[in-house]
Symmetry: C2
Subunit: 395 residues, 2 copies
């Protein structure tokens, strides 16, 4: 059975994602579509609106065959690490291609860029470091300046968020030397960061999240499949959609009581950023205020989000898990058949029940779920991780 | 000027405390009465009902001349450590006696007990350790069994809370070799733990706290001086009286996200108690529930309270300050005159303004105040430490 892979967050699953899914089926001719998806916390360092199990259900109900969780230590990091974790999982699950949305739409331009950069890896890293040493550039800017310096003629605009991700997927496949083809479609209608919907049935996930955080579920209905809408509706009856707002009191507490030395052990804490964050925590009344006091040209909003999340999670650099694993969140009958078929050849640990799993492998993700469960009104879900069954959709 | 010292918590200052203060003046003939008082958190590992500045004001308004803070690392520990810190401060301030309430009422029985125990210190410690090794006794029980074994004929009942404290004050003065006389009065009417008042004008602080936490201020009025009542009344208009209830969400978060290795660095974490606490945090819905799941014969409620507080504060064993210091919270005109008189001879650092203080000395108490300020509706007080002026009462 031919399988293709998508790398997603589905926060929440909307019509643009459905388009992407259908296009993946059409263009690759795959019989099995596998999504690797962030768990409770996302690539931009934010809590997901709703739990990973709900989001996996949306995906399977919309036609995905297998939804696999990207572990926290990959999912909440910058594009290169995020992509490496996701590509490793998809490769282990035997996909022959990865299909992603981009602003560019031309797979060849990604391969070209990846081979140019991977061919001069050391020079590239040195150039990034040189720009960072200025202490005026964010990592993203330094990265871009380095690209432009080493490969001035690229046909790919690497300031566009989905182009950046696509580039990193391609680079990860090259550096992991896995036989995976890259395929891409041009994103339709909604720019990544658009806050207001710009088309009758497609809106950016950002715009949809804004509506949901205002509890305006009705406004969302035209932009999401009916299956998603029903799940959102049910969920909202007993829960708030989560945001940093809910975790702010815990972050503030953590920044106030942790010593500087402790904070310096946290993943992503460099260059004295801990002092900036601690000072802001004392004076800020809410998370927005905290961002106003910490975001600068050098420290982007995503960087602050991600660093704050690692602090909230007390993710010590020395404790970051070293291994990837496969964790199924949901599957269709086809997905189940496919999984049974390839099960014995998967080169990564396949974790389905907690009791049989290596604790060192899953402890970090259990902790992330427990942390996520502390958002008000979500507390009944604590410890649901590895006790919540895989969502199975039968035909 | 002759000075006598009291060791107090004043949570809040009530008629029993007033009796104690007046008796101290009468029995010792001192012109200056100095209280060393716990700060934001108390000896039994609980947050104070209201901030230290409010409590210092109650004390000065009721007739105390000088109120000095006992630093967090002494104030929130078992009786021996608490007493050592307090006696060191009072000795530095030149008191000629310490006057305490006890169930016994006879100062000589305390001196006798202290000299018997300090004369066989090593045997005493070994006996405590032997009883603790059973893993069935709490520290308090082991301590008592050791006393009974080594000094079976003591005229002092060392199972009574105020006798225990008085004994430790006496022992601290003996071991610090300071020229301080011990004087005591028999406590009147209200037993230490009484939950309901038993006399027309005297009630235990525990009973008073119960009334205040139920916001029943009217019920309190007959048991506290009018000066206290007015302060409580003003405070209540804009604040909640603090309790563990307010800090429970932060404790739960901390126990969920800290690694076992991190918890093992915390002061007071021994014998794997961290596992017990972490497990309970996952399942408990509130602090009461947490206590039900953790308190045993071996781990008393006070032990759990104190350990939980050290975790909440992230007080690492390696970070515990090594030095004591003098921090004035409030004073009368007499107190100020006395302080000016002895200022140059105080053998401990006298800290009055943050900018001039050694940060290593005060950092821990600043953190405790910031932590205390996280109790809901107290947040406007964050960072007030060292920015709140000393309360001065002029005649």
């Amino acid at each position: 059975m031919k399988a293709t892979g998508l790398i997603v967050e589905y926060n929440p699953f909307h019509n643009g994602h459905l388009l992407h899914l259908n296009e993946a089926k059409k263009q690759t001719g795959a019989e099995v579509i596998i999504a690797v998806m962030s768990g409770s916390f996302l690539q931009r360092g934010e809590p997901a609106l709703l739990p990973k199990w709900e989001r996996a259900k949306m995906a399977v109900d919309a036609g995905l065959d297998l939804v696999v969780e990207l572990p926290f230590h990959f999912a909440t990091q910058q594009a290169a690490i995020f992509a490496n974790g996701a590509v490793e999982i998809l490769a282990a699950l035997g996909v022959s291609s990865i299909f992603f949305g981009s602003e560019n739409g031309d797979a060849k331009s990604f391969s070209k860029a990846a081979s140019v950069i991977s061919g001069q890896n050391d020079a590239f890293k040195a150039a990034i470091r040189r720009y960072l040493d200025d202490k005026t550039h964010s990592y993203a800017t330094a990265w871009n300046l380095a690209i432009r310096e080493l490969a001035p003629d690229l046909a790919l605009d690497l300031t566009q968020p989905n182009n950046i991700l696509g580039f990193h997927y391609t680079l990860a496949a090259v550096s992991q030397q896995v036989p995976i083809t890259m395929a891409t479609m041009k994103r339709q209608n909604a720019a990544y960061h658009d806050h207001s919907p710009s088309h009758q049935s497609i809106a950016s996930a950002t715009a949809i999240r804004h509506m949901l955080l205002k509890d305006d579920l009705a406004a969302v209905s035209q932009y999401v499949p009916e299956t998603t809408f029903r799940i959102l509706q049910n969920y909202q009856q007993t829960h708030n959609f989560a945001s940093w707002h809910h975790f702010w009191p815990l972050l503030k507490y953590q920044l106030i009581t942790a010593s500087t030395e402790q904070l310096q052990q946290i993943r992503g804490i460099t260059e004295g950023i801990e002092n900036r964050l601690q000072k802001a925590a004392l004076h800020a009344d809410n998370f927005e205020d905290f961002l106003v006091q910490t975001v600068t040209k050098r420290y982007s909003k995503s960087r602050i989000h991600r660093t704050a999340l690692q602090i909230l999670m007390q993710q010590q650099e020395a404790e970051v898990p070293s291994q990837n694993y496969i964790r199924i969140l949901g599957m269709s009958a086809t997905g189940q058949r496919y999984l049974n078929h390839i099960k014995k050849e998967i080169p990564l640990p396949l974790v389905s029940t907690m009791s049989k799993a290596n604790p060192a492998l899953i402890q970090n993700d259990i902790r992330a779920t427990q942390l996520y469960s502390l958002a008000p009104t979500l507390s009944d879900q604590i410890q649901r991780d590895f006790q919540t069954p895989i969502y199975r959709k039968n035909p």
